[in-house]
């Protein structure tokens, strides 16, 4: 079974080689004044839920667990962060107009109610990012309150 051995070697070499490919890590030391938590008066439980379940993909600072630094999983995350931040960046909340905030709040509520966020492929590994029913209700209630205060 020489061929199997060759394939295994190629796979191993490829796995080692891709570890040296550069990754654009999404990390920032400072939290800007426009951050969602600084602009709004967010209850501690809601803040905790959002930080753990959403900020990795929707802010300028991802909390990378060790395995996410191993390729190809860092590519996977890099891609999601780029797309996720383009949709919504909690760090830049204060820069949005009231119309845009309203719109984003509606999307956030819908995404959580429909169970689309946090992404399944993410909670598969990040078990702590899964919302309990209580978390879910608390976050949705808070987002609704914030939305009403803007209207």
């Amino acid at each position: 079974m020489k061929i199997v051995k060759i394939i295994a070697w190629i796979a191993l070499v490829a796995f080692v080689v891709i570890q040296f490919f550069p990754v654009d890590y999404n990390q920032s030391e400072t939290v800007p004044q426009t951050d969602f938590m600084l602009v709004n008066n967010v209850p501690a439980t809601v803040e905790q839920s959002l930080q753990v379940s959403c900020y990795d993909c929707h802010s300028n600072n991802t909390d990378y667990p060790w395995y996410s630094k191993v390729q190809p999983s860092s590519w996977y995350l890099e891609h999601h962060i780029k797309e996720g931040k383009a949709e919504l960046n909690f760090n830049e909340w204060g820069n949005l107009s009231d119309r845009r905030k309203n719109s984003k709040l509606r999307s956030i509520i819908n995404q959580i109610e429909d169970g689309e966020m946090p992404l399944d492929s993410y909670t598969l590994i990040h078990r702590d990012a899964i919302f309990s029913e209580a978390n879910k209700t608390a976050v949705i209630d808070y987002m609704n309150k914030l939305k009403d205060s803007l209207e």
Binding site: S97, R99, R100, S103, R106
Partner: protein, 149 residues
């Protein structure tokens, strides 16, 4: 209200795309709505607010940015999501018309049952109710709230 005709023509084109999109949702046609969402996004992008006053420009650019995002999402979502985005899009369109004006007669319609009874409004060129949020499931839910023009 702007007097520049070409400007108004762009706003009218946006409204027409919006009405076509609304009709696709009335007909429960997911793929047609995708196509029309992308068409609308293109029209929105070509809108130019420069002939309006400064404060109107700010407001219009804000509206267009928001509406473009919703139109783009409608271009790539399932029908339930399309309808969620259509609700916010309809608010944007209503606010846009309030600034640009229109030569058409438009009806603002409202169904209180959409979105877990939080309600949903939309614009239509026909007085008769054809509900874009429920489609065949509840085609006639709604009433005319206001006539524009």
């Amino acid at each position: 209200m702007a007097m520049d005709n070409s400007q108004d023509a762009k706003a009218e084109a946006i409204l027409k795309d919006y009405f076509n999109l609304k009709d696709a949702l009335v007909n429960d046609d997911n793929s047609k709505a995708k196509e029309l969402g992308n068409t609308l996004a293109q029209s929105l992008k070509s809108f130019d607010a420069s002939s309006y006053s400064d404060s109107e420009q700010n407001e219009l650019n804000d509206i267009i940015e928001d509406a473009t995002e919703h139109a783009e999402h409608i271009g790539e979502s399932d029908i339930a999501h399309q309808r969620e985005h259509f609700k916010t899009l309809s608010k944007d369109m209503t606010d846009m018309v309030a600034i640009t004006g229109t030569s058409m007669t438009i009806y603002e319609q409202y169904c209180p049952m959409y979105d877990n009874n939080k309600g949903g409004a939309w614009l239509s060129m026909n007085e008769e109710i054809r509900n874009p949020y429920f489609g065949a499931q509840m085609l006639k839910c709604g009433k005319v709230q206001r006539e524009i023009n």
